[in-house]
Symmetry: C2
Subunit: 323 residues, 2 copies
């Protein structure tokens, strides 16, 4: 099992190393016949480019990086994991590999960018969990590092490409579903105001209710089953259904108000397991579109203005059953 380099291939095919390189990178400049001969040599020898050597010359690594949440557990943590799965698949298809990193906060994350860029020549980043006052995007933009975010730039101008899920459309669909089922007193159990995602989810419910001429009644809680149950207990007793900002909250609502119809958000494993109707984010699709946008940037064929894409979620309706 000798080491196969571009020189081995060149010798076998009876051409120069340069020609082999051309066949790999710019095949159109090589005569068809030569090209074929070289390609045969490549496959018969099982040649593969040495990424380190290529990278040293080109400064590009064909590597992208994504953060993995440190201790992410709990019900909703799985959402980003599912996104990560999709991204790995999409990256592989596009000829990139995914490198993971963890970061305790935005500053650590930026320090990690610096390290990954200088030490590993990372080609690009996919950012998740965007939030108000996010310093990461401006840091990357200032250095002309290609990146895409999964999540809108909350409270900042759309100066980069992003993909997001239309949270408001999700809760709107949930609310409509309940209205069609005959419910009139539909509460909303959400997070404290201030988070972009949470506020959007509330908006979808609120506008749908208002359009239908129905009365609003909302309570808020930090995410979690217990907090959700406590909050749900504060709804006025006329409520017959609840739209929730997460499956965790939905679980709490179910416990506090077993008489109510409840709809969750994220369609987590918990929802599937207990037969909870929930809004499902198209995470695989989102990951694929992020990768599309990123490869456009990396290949220099990105449109002049950044692209924004808002994907519609879907409502996964599960028949109520005795719990």
């Amino acid at each position: 099992m000798e080491k196969v380099t571009i020189a081995t291939v060149a010798e076998r095919a009876g051409v120069s190393r340069q020609t082999v390189s051309n066949v790999i990178n710019t095949p159109e400049v090589v005569r068809a016949e030569t090209r074929e001969r070289v390609r045969e040599a490549i496959t018969s020898l099982g040649y593969r480019v040495n990424q380190a050597a290529r990278q040293m010359r080109t400064g590009r690594s064909r590597l992208i990086a994504v953060r993995i949440e440190p201790g992410s557990d709990g019900i909703n943590g799985s959402v980003l994991d599912r996104f990560l799965h999709g991204l790995t698949d999409a990256a592989t298809l596009a000829g990139y590999r995914v490198m993971l990193y963890t970061a305790a906060d935005d500053d650590h994350e930026i320090a990690t960018y610096d390290d990954l860029l200088t030490a590993h020549d990372l080609d690009g980043f996919v950012l998740t969990s965007t939030h108000h006052g996010d310093p990461r995007t401006s840091w990357l933009a200032a250095r002309d590092v290609p990146f895409v975010t999964f999540g809108r730039p909350w409270g900042a101008p759309d100066t980069h490409s992003w993909v997001d899920v239309d949270n408001a459309a999700g809760t709107a669909a949930a609310t409509r579903h309940l209205i069609e089922a005959g419910h009139r007193r539909i509460g909303f159990l959400g997070w404290p105001a201030g988070s972009g995602v949470g506020d959007s989810r509330r908006t979808g419910w609120e506008s749908t209710m208002t359009d239908a001429g129905l009365t609003l009644s909302a309570v808020a809680a930090v995410d979690g089953v217990d907090a959700g149950a406590d909050a749900a207990a504060r709804f006025d007793s006329a409520i017959t259904a609840v739209v929730c900002a997460s499956d965790s909250l939905a679980l709490g609502a179910l416990r506090a108000r077993p008489d109510c119809a409840v709809i969750g958000f994220d369609d987590t494993a918990v929802a599937a397991a207990i037969g909870l109707t929930s809004v499902s984010q198209p995470l695989t699709e989102a990951a694929a579109r992020c990768m599309d946008m990123l490869t456009e940037l990396l290949d220099g064929r990105a449109p002049a203005t950044p692209t924004q894409l808002l994907l519609p979620p879907s409502l996964v309706v599960r028949p109520p059953r005795r719990r």
Copy 2:
């Protein structure tokens, strides 16, 4: 922001490039005074090694690879995700980065090894989901590629280092807990025989029951809530408690036998959410130990014989509540 290479540092410190390299890699061969001067130059210039250049010379990338399950979703999928989180942290601490890949089956995975090794000079692998007749370990071993498995080499000799969780101890603890609570008719709801993990989990229950002189009653189902419910319905009606091989099955058992005490396995988010007592795997610990073993191999300071480590799981007891 000029590009800072080892030459820049050498010039600033008034030494040769080689000395800078020595300070970085074998500081003990450099006189203390010189070492300090070089270190100052490194920090003041913000120098970082170019991994590609280093890699080209050493053939090592300081990269390890782990598979991420393709569409892994559902209740139990999160287990490997949690392991992955821990591994990323541990790898970072050890100065390695984690590269992800997906693979549809063992053959694809082996093809990916080949690619990662030749193209990216991957230093090592952490394998998960070991199983009977696993072809991956022998492929890697035949090529002297450093690797560690999270999971025993089921049905094969212990020729490599591995970390695993003592599944039998987990179900044994669950069973003892139920016995202490006064239960005598304790059933086991597991997977079909043949999977190493599933068989271990059954063994822990079985031996504990036998030691206590209690009667055995077990049913099996493929993993899943519905299948678990169907299977649990087949228990004889005298059963008052059920030990399950997974939280999914436990959920099924709860549905089919709401009168029974049920204990699950894996302590997933679902268990936490619905207050299900479950056996918890020390996944962060397992990941850290895997990384320890792998770095030993990579640094050439591994013991002559491979290391095996069986970690004890813990029982997370949750008070029963009305469901």
